[in-house]
Symmetry: C2
Subunit: 574 residues, 2 copies
Amino acid sequence: MRTTKVEIRRGTYYDSIILMQLQLSLSQIPGVNNAGVMMGVAANKEILKQNGLLTAEAEAAFPDDLIISVECDDTTTADAALAEVDNLLSSRKSTSEQDYLPKSVEAAAQMLPNAKWALISVPGQYAAGVAREALRLQKNVFLYSDNVSIEDEIALKHEAGHSGLLLMGPDCGTSIVNNTGFGFANQVRRGPIGLVGASGTGLQQVTARIDQLGSGITHALGTGGRDLSAEVGGITALQCLGLLQRDPETQVIVLISKPPAQTVTTTLLQSARTVDKPVVVYFIGYPAVTTDENSHNIHFARSLDETAELAVQLVTAAATPSPAKNKPVRFAKDQRYLRGLFSGGTLAQESLFILQNYLPNIHSNIAHEKEQQLNDLKRSREHTLLDLGEDAFTVGRPHPMLDNNLRLARFQQEAADPEVAIILMDIVLGHGAHPDPASELAPAISAARTRAQKAKRELEIVVVLVGTEDDPQNIASQMERLRTAGARVEKSNTVACAYVGQRLQRQLQPGKLPPVDLAILQEPVAAINVGLESFASSLANQTAAVVHVDWRPPAGGNEKLMSILERMKKAQNN
Amino acid sequence: MRTTKVEIRRGTYYDSIILMQLQLSLSQIPGVNNAGVMMGVAANKEILKQNGLLTAEAEAAFPDDLIISVECDDTTTADAALAEVDNLLSSRKSTSEQDYLPKSVEAAAQMLPNAKWALISVPGQYAAGVAREALRLQKNVFLYSDNVSIEDEIALKHEAGHSGLLLMGPDCGTSIVNNTGFGFANQVRRGPIGLVGASGTGLQQVTARIDQLGSGITHALGTGGRDLSAEVGGITALQCLGLLQRDPETQVIVLISKPPAQTVTTTLLQSARTVDKPVVVYFIGYPAVTTDENSHNIHFARSLDETAELAVQLVTAAATPSPAKNKPVRFAKDQRYLRGLFSGGTLAQESLFILQNYLPNIHSNIAHEKEQQLNDLKRSREHTLLDLGEDAFTVGRPHPMLDNNLRLARFQQEAADPEVAIILMDIVLGHGAHPDPASELAPAISAARTRAQKAKRELEIVVVLVGTEDDPQNIASQMERLRTAGARVEKSNTVACAYVGQRLQRQLQPGKLPPVDLAILQEPVAAINVGLESFASSLANQTAAVVHVDWRPPAGGNEKLMSILERMKKAQNN
């Protein structure tokens, strides 16, 4: 008679791959129809249930309990199978070939003193503790474990950052450091492209495609998926960008991420613009924009495929030095902000999207994000961009493309604000529009600049001029008069916005964190592995030096005891 | 002594440009320092205030009142200036050169019986009524007026659509029809590119850039900024796409919009894919994706500039016919849905973004939009895409790139669902990953397909295979075994997703709305103009036939009386 028998081992720990192998071995015993070996968490119980392996006893197991369940032709076979468990566990060939397994990270560090890395893949609840230990031993950490809290992540990254160490992860699936793959990594040819990714399979797909395209990589550095969240602030990504900037073998940099927080996007792009190498950026789901490629080094891609293609193309171009830039005039100390006064809704919308790549928190009457919306339309706040053609501004008056009065009044208001550095405006020519906008705007621009100069300020006016040579307003004459009045005039909105963004982006605080030692990318990898044994054997297969730690949950997985131990350790360290 | 004097004319109507001109004329009278002529809405009072032109009397004016305010050197000059107002108004040279101005749209239609168009730019509160009248007279409507409710927009567009007429707008700033610009429009060379835009200055910038690049346009059709909202559903944009598809002179189509609603995006792209011409798409702020250009005709741009450049480039390529496609196997009647089972988070994320271009409402555990989030992770709903590497799935078990158990269980669940047509999976090779995923997945794929065939279903399995030739798993053998099992295997996620999307996108209901008469694009423009007189003269300057209507607000602007009149008219028509 078919029967399902279960053994529960309270508080027992094996790494999850060993359990997977035990399950396979059990299911291959003659007379065993099905076997399940899993920790007693809800998702696993669900799988056992679907496979007819969940008894009432297994249903009652705790998350820390190991459930071993077999479904057999008869009770005798079931009992015999369960009796085999210990033999199977002890007879399994260890995947690492170490004679002696140290019991702690510290002991492992003594065995492999030149190890600069610790790979950590223990279950989530223990991961932060192990990572802290590794950081104290001055190891750079590749933290594969998931289910680590964001509070722990922030604390660990701050600790690592201030010690000049990298903490990649948590939930960091992949990295390739100096030809050695950590966690999941493809065997990719060596070449001139360095990558930073807040996305594991993103890095894998792009590195694999780079290899397929015949090129190769220097390093692919994972940061963990939450690194670019507003809370974490991209600490690891910024460190990695710095490393690749300094790495002489990296000619082109790739930066990939799932959609990052807007503030982090701005910071990262600002940082990437200071790099003197081309940077290909792919933020999945982020509204990609093209920017003026002559004025800086950022190239936005629209897919993982295109990211790889662009990077490979740019390798040849990378040798060409960027042209020297004219030093623009300097703003006064308090002049920090942009005021955009648009008559065209689409031009305003596109400008908002482009400028977000340079400036954090642009307030606007057309912003989608609540925190960016301008509540009092009459008063600008910090960076502000207005679509003056919106309904609220046009009740009872002509559209601003016809009637400059409202815009001129606002222009004077903004020009008088000592915190304003640049005023950005569009002028749209053509049938139906104002017959001669320069006649009204040029004198206003000229007067505002003169007033500002008298007040020891340099007010910059940037105009996007939309029109053709056949438009009734005479575009050449419009442009000439606006330029004579002192405005910078561009025909392309993209070019105008990229210029404004570059002029106003905040200078990054340099040296906030000490630089990470470039040697970690240049020396052959030596690492301590804590957690999944298969990761140690994978490193060994790649001829990296590795010591695997025979790690067990502290206090046998008993959470109360663990927290007492943790507090004792903290007290000791303080 | 300097003095400000105000005259209030209750319920008086002049179009806003005439008021602007009156203001200019008054301010040019010697002794007048400043003048303001505006309707009594709050925004205007603010401007008068800033200019020292707001008296207590003006402050008390109603929105329907005309405020005439002059600031003069003395009272006598002020009185004299105000006494001039009627002279200035009657002596102004009419910008249209008509001898007789009809008082209604109907009378204008009799004067210009071949007019296919009505241009409407009356104040928002009257605009829907005038548009309705024009539609009843079988005119296509260019509705420049803003401040029209979305309810009115929906009603008007449905009425127009079912009559085979276009209603462009409300708040439609621009269109170019057969060389004639409506509203605001640049003088652009004639050429092979046709445009549809839910954005006025977007159309202007792109048409101007096309002209600057030496090419030209057939027509540029505006839809109004709200056309691509979920409520309106892109009625006008779909009609315009249909027109340009049928227009023999249009070789390449451009589609521009401010960020559209997701459902409308999907519908529009589906419609654009049925067009046998290249379509360049720029949805500002929409996460652009590249898609497989061999499999269809959509080209995503990342800026207004790039939109123009792509369109011009594609003109030469447009002549090349697209390759014949293999007819894929047919799904059973109920097979409609995709189930995506991903081990890689980034691949899942990118797939979600790409597939949203084809399929509406994909449910997922990694969706950002609330309505897309999958509440019960155990059960898929309609189109569902899962990232099985998310924390919720990995507590107490190895990552799905190592352990196929969870994915195999879910695969079987999805494969048994008679509504499922395609299962999409990623397989990521490399160090650290499962040593031989095909050994577990290929038999499952083969078995599931066989079971489905027995149940008279065609289950399609699409696999994205990420890896290199040097990976330990042997990519060629993995691919071979997966293909033998009946899976379609792609190395590029973009290509795999584009394939899946095309297979599953719903067939558009053809002929829901009658086609709009192509003649409106081919005949010389003849139009009735209601509202801003300057638009009539602009049409006349472009040698279009135009009749301007001497329109006044019904019932002298009295809103109570107006609503009674409106109800009487409705009763009459029913």
